[in-house]
């Protein structure tokens, strides 16, 4: 079930660890912003089976909590703040995320495609 992803992930991890932010290709970062308790863009697509990063900027006056059980991430974003989370590798499919403080308004999806 683990599909040998460890062997793929291990060298990748070392690469990221050693090179820091500079080592992460720009294409791997998805940028989202929150305004008026809505995500822009709300629906994004990422390549399946590889790690990626989501960078969330909160333009509202109130704190937000970027949370996704599907992606196993949970992080507070203060007003005007930006956070980055790492997620994946994902199997092809659609994964939901929300601002846990405004779950009815601020929600979106990540779609992983082969």
């Amino acid at each position: 079930m683990t599909r040998g992803t460890f062997f793929l992930a291990a060298p990748l991890l070392m690469g990221i660890g050693l090179a820091g932010a500079a080592g992460t290709a720009a294409a791997d970062v998805i940028e989202l912003s929150i305004s008026g308790h809505k995500f822009t863009p709300a629906d994004v697509t990422v390549p399946a089976n590889q790690k990626f990063q989501i960078k969330v900027t909160n333009n509202d006056q109130t704190p937000a909590e970027f949370e996704s059980h599907d992606l196993k991430v949970e992080k507070i974003v203060v007003p005007g703040g930006t956070v980055t989370v790492t997620a994946g590798p994902l199997k092809p499919g659609t994964y939901e995320f929300v601002d846990d403080y405004h779950p009815d308004d601020a929600k979106g999806t990540v779609t992983a495609k082969e």
């Binding site: 683990t2 992803t5 660890g17 109130t62 059980h69 196993k72 507070i76 703040g81 980055t84």
Partner: protein
């Protein structure tokens, strides 16, 4: 108001379950009410302080500050639960005897209480800062329903406290002979679950290898964002798609705690056979 109640309740639930177990595990220890109340108070003040520095914390350690902090306080809780388990292994038998002999009389247990108060502080601190930020967001917005929502928040906190109380009352209904066996098992699972969560958090920031991205997928049976899933997540670290490192940390911690408890328990039996022979009932 209902939406706010549910959001706050979900955050408070985890700390509430832990406090319920801690209350049951320290049943009969002198001054435990004071210590645990102190632990809660410490957690709440810490949470308020933490909420104020949330932005700075998020930016610390190249953006991994929140994760590192969460993993660190989980590690502290695991250690303190370990201290309690070892303490119980050497004093639990005697404690149960004394309490049986004198009704629910109190016994001394300062060392264990310090550890358990810290566990409570950590549990409250972890979820509390999220609640504080959430309620602060509501209070500072000019939204006309703000008062209603704050009321919902307060109701959420109360509902969480009620769960704590119910779990505690349920546990202490267990006969004294078995109570500490049950609470010790729950505490060992709690500690192992926390160690697993800490490992998963660190793997999420690439500080630990994942050892396989998902060992199993039970999200079709029990999602970990359902209420039951959340409760099990708090109690034993349940995850519907755990990385290998989370499972490994859970198993290693559980094995270590069981071994430690057995070793201390045996050492105790050899050095003090007298109190045991005094009460054949145990």
């Amino acid at each position: 108001m209902l939406a706010t109640l549910i959001i706050v309740f979900r955050e408070v639930l985890e700390a509430g379950l832990i406090i319920g177990i801690v209350l049951a595990a320290t049943e009969g220890v002198a001054h435990r009410g004071r210590w645990i109340a102190g632990g809660i108070l410490g957690g709440v003040s810490g949470a308020a302080l933490l909420a104020g520095f949330a932005g700075a914390l998020a930016n610390a350690f190249s953006g991994s500050g929140q994760e590192l902090f969460n993993a660190a306080i989980l590690a502290v809780a695991v250690l303190m639960l370990g201290v309690h388990i070892t303490w119980m292994a050497s004093h639990g038998r005697q404690m149960a005897q004394e309490m049986k002999a004198m009704g629910r009389a109190v016994v001394q247990g300062d060392r264990s209480l310090t550890a358990m108060a810290l566990v409570v502080t950590v549990a409250v601190l972890r979820e509390g800062s999220e609640v504080v930020l959430f309620l602060f967001g509501i209070a500072s917005s000019t939204h006309e329903g703000a008062a209603q929502m704050l009321l919902g928040g307060a109701a959420g906190v109360l509902a969480g406290a009620l769960v704590s109380w119910l779990l505690y009352r349920g546990l202490v209904a267990i006969p004294m002979k078995h109570l500490f066996k049950v609470t010790n098992a729950m505490i060992a699972l709690l500690a192992a679950g926390m160690a697993g969560q800490a490992a998963a958090i660190l793997a999420g920031t690439n500080m630990l290898p994942t050892l396989g991205d998902e060992v199993w997928d039970t999200s079709s049976i029990l999602r970990d964002d359902s209420m039951l899933g959340r409760a099990l997540h708090a109690l034993i670290g349940y995850s519907d798609r755990p990385p290998g490192i989370q499972v490994a940390a859970f198993l290693v911690t559980l094995a270590a705690l069981i071994t430690l408890s057995k070793m201390v328990g045996q050492g105790r039996r050899i050095t003090s056979s007298e109190p045991r022979s005094a009460s054949p009932a145990l």
